[in-house]
Structure formats: C-alpha cells, structure tokens
Symmetry: C2
Subunit: 213 residues, 2 copies
DNA sequence: CGCATAGTTGAGCTATTTCAACATCAGTGG
DNA sequence: CCACTGATGTTGAAATAGCTCAACTATGCG
C-alpha cells in the first residue's frame, strides 16, 4: 500500500488514514484493449491505476477523442463516482494494467470523517478542470503543427527523448494518424526532432516552443 | 442575500451559514465588454454572478474559444480560486453585469469549518468536469451541423424558442460566424427551425435531435 | 435619422481528411 | 533464428468541410 502515498489524493494522509483506505479497495486486472468503464454505466467505483496505461475517451460516429491518458500512480473516474452519476466517457486499458477499485459508498463515508481527504479531492478536481481547459484550447485554437509541437513538449518533462505513438497522439490531438505522420515529417525536415523506432528525440526545444502557439 | 440560496454551492446551507458567507462578499459592477479576470492573474477571488452575462474564454493568435457563458445565479473562477493558482482563461462581461466577489482566504477558512460547503464545492466541480468533457466531444467529434443542432437543443430547456446570437454561438462552437450563419440557413431550409430577429423557434425537435449526433 | 454592430451571401482557398497502396515493426510459433 | 502475421506507420492523390476575404444587408440604439 506504499502505492497510495504516491497518489496525490492520498499523499498527505497519516498511516492510520491510509490503513483505513487500504481496507476499502480491491484489485482488478485488465488486458490491453479491455474496457474498464463505459458511459451509461453508474459510477459505483473509482479507480487507482497501479500498473499499466489507461485511456479515457469519447466516441461519436466511429470517431474517437481521447480526454486523457493515465499512467503509473493516478486516479480516474473520481468525479463521476463522487456524484454517483454515469461515467461521461469510456475507459480502456491500452497496456496490460492493474487497477484498485474504491467503492463510492465507502469513499463517501470516509470523506465525511476526513476533511483533509475532501480538500485533496478538490485539489485533484481543480487540476482536472485546468487540464481540460487547456485541452479545449489545444483542440480548438491550434493548427496540427502547433498541436503536435505542444504535445511533444508536454511529454518531455526535462528529458530530451520521449516514447511516441503516431496513432495514440492522433487520438489525443483530434487529428488523423496520417496528419500526425505528415506533420512529424515536417518537424523532422525542420531539424527540430529526430525519430528512431518509437522514440522521438528533441533537437531544438526552443523552436518547438515557438511552433507550439 | 436571497441570491445565495439560488447558487448551487450554497443551496442547502442554513441561514446561519449563509449569514457568515454574506459577510465575506462585496459587490462589483462591470459594463459590457469589461474584463473580469485574465490568465496570469492570481485567483484571489471567485465570483458569483448576480446580474448580467459573462463569458469565460481562451484566446490564441487572435482566435477565441468560449469555455462557458454564465448567466443568472452562477459562480465562476472557483477552481482557480481554490488552488490559488492563476486563472486559466479570460472572463469578460458580455452584458452589463453585477458580480459578488468572495476572497480566497476567507472562503478557505469557511471551508474548513463547514464540511457541507466542501461537499457542495465538489459537486459543482464535478459538474464542471462533466460539462467540459461534453464540450471536448462537441468541439472535436461533431460537424458544424451537429454542433449547431445540439447547441440549440441545449438552450431549449422545455421552451420552443430561444435567444440566439450568431457570433456568440460561433465562439462557443469553435466555428466562424459565417459558418454558423450558413448552417442556420440549412436548418431553416430543412424546416427544422424558424428565425425572426434574434430569436429561433424550433419547429421539429426530433429532427434536431437526430442531426445533433 | 444615421451610425455602429451584427448577420448574410458569394467565391475562392487551404488545412485536414479520406481512401488506397505500400512499408515497417513487434511479436509468435515453427 | 527466421518467416509469418497483424498492427502501426508512411506516402500520394483527391475530396471536402470549414475558413477567409469582401461586399452587402439588416438591426438596434442614441
């Protein structure tokens, strides 16, 4: 249960409190491609990602828009679980994953007794709102080149190399894989990045930053 | 302070609690076109809309995407104010408006003492997340015709007539006013709606629903 | 009434999508 | 270790939805 400490929602709680939370959860495994939740499904649980990678996305007429890809110690589905409404989107494992489930009811009980937890949850939700706001900005206001540039920058985190999947990026950026592929070639031609296999190396971060607006 | 009861955040609080909140706020007026907050401004307050109409929006390279238009008894800026970060977007009065300001600090204090208030705030934020999720879906996955159809439907609320501004709709839907105007003509030609001055009357709601996907 | 703002319409343009063919890669089992 | 297979990525050509620019019209406000 060391994992819990890494999750922002629980980070500053006492051992005691973590202990209580630990008793509420159980683990579940999903293979790559398996659906974790779907819209029109009542949110009786929320999820803590223990291992693997999960995409949360919307679909319409065979098209797909990823809302967010979750990795490592992250939680998702918490907002819907809080209100007890239906999930607003799909969640699917894009790698073999392991997930901890927390039942809505027991979490709500805990929430009444631990005001700190409430503050944490609000912080998490505020962060989500912020993220979604910039997602809207990126989707609606930027060109393919800017989208891709800021996407790469956002994955860098100090490193100069990232893992990159053309079709995953496409579904996150609201573009087709063809457009992403072509735009990537443009960035290569500009000498801004290098590509080898499924990795991208950024050669000129400054240029990328300029392109990302 | 009857207004406060109408705001979801405070709806189920006692007179006493409302009294305390009432003491925290002060009123401010904004003329049409005035900026209420801007990005890179620390969120020291959040806002309760008392009268008028406010748009919260992002801009990039002279383009503008409205995140949400607020009316009547609504609050906005609460997430940024909770975390104390910068506002993620602009807010501007699009009608002469009156707004109540609540300071971040005093609200956080209150939040510690009134767990109910925290629960309410979480509910509000969860609703916002849900809204933004469907906004992403609408922006990214729908055609102009579908966007406009679902937009009109969402404003109906049981009525069969709505106020409609072409350019406001355009900025909400991520389209140009020209496209909205043309698409509206298409809906007229299909016999789905009628237009007179700045009002739209829906003649065939079912057809509109089918077009909205 | 006149002016500014908002909406309409047309013509041409362009970024992105679509469709199709091909290339590359990763993983599997022989 | 290699050959096969399905998934993923690339490239080209054509189609298209929506944008831009420009001119014009309607609307509402002082």
């Amino acid at each position: 249960m060391e994992l819990l400490k890494e999750v922002p929602l629980f980070s500053n709680l006492s051992e005691d409190q973590l202990e209580r939370i630990g008793r509420l959860l159980f683990s579940k495994k999903y293979l790559k491609g398996e659906v974790i939740f779907s819209p029109n499904e009542k949110a009786e649980f929320f999820f803590i990602l223990k291992r693997g990678k999960v995409k949360v996305f919307k679909t319409l007429n065979g098209k797909e828009q990823i809302i967010k890809v979750f990795e490592k110690p992250a939680l998702f589905g918490e907002a819907a679980s809080f209100t007890g409404s239906c999930f607003p989107a799909w969640a699917e494992a894009i790698e073999d994953s392991e997930v901890l489930l927390v039942s809505r009811k027991s979490f709500l009980n805990l929430l009444k007794e631990e005001p700190e937890l409430g503050m944490n949850l609000m912080a998490v939700m505020a962060q989500r709102l912020f993220y979604l706001t910039t997602l809207v900005e990126n989707l609606s206001l930027k060109s393919a080149l800017s989208k891709l540039s800021s996407y790469i920058l956002s994955k860098l985190e100090g490193e100069e190399e990232i893992n990159f999947s053309t079709s995953l990026a496409a579904m996150e950026l609201g573009l087709t894989k063809e457009t992403v592929s072509r735009t990537l070639s443009k960035l290569k031609a500009l000498g801004v990045i290098e590509k080898k296999k499924s990795k991208i190396r950024v050669k000129n971060r400054k240029a990328l930053q300029e392109l990302s607006c």
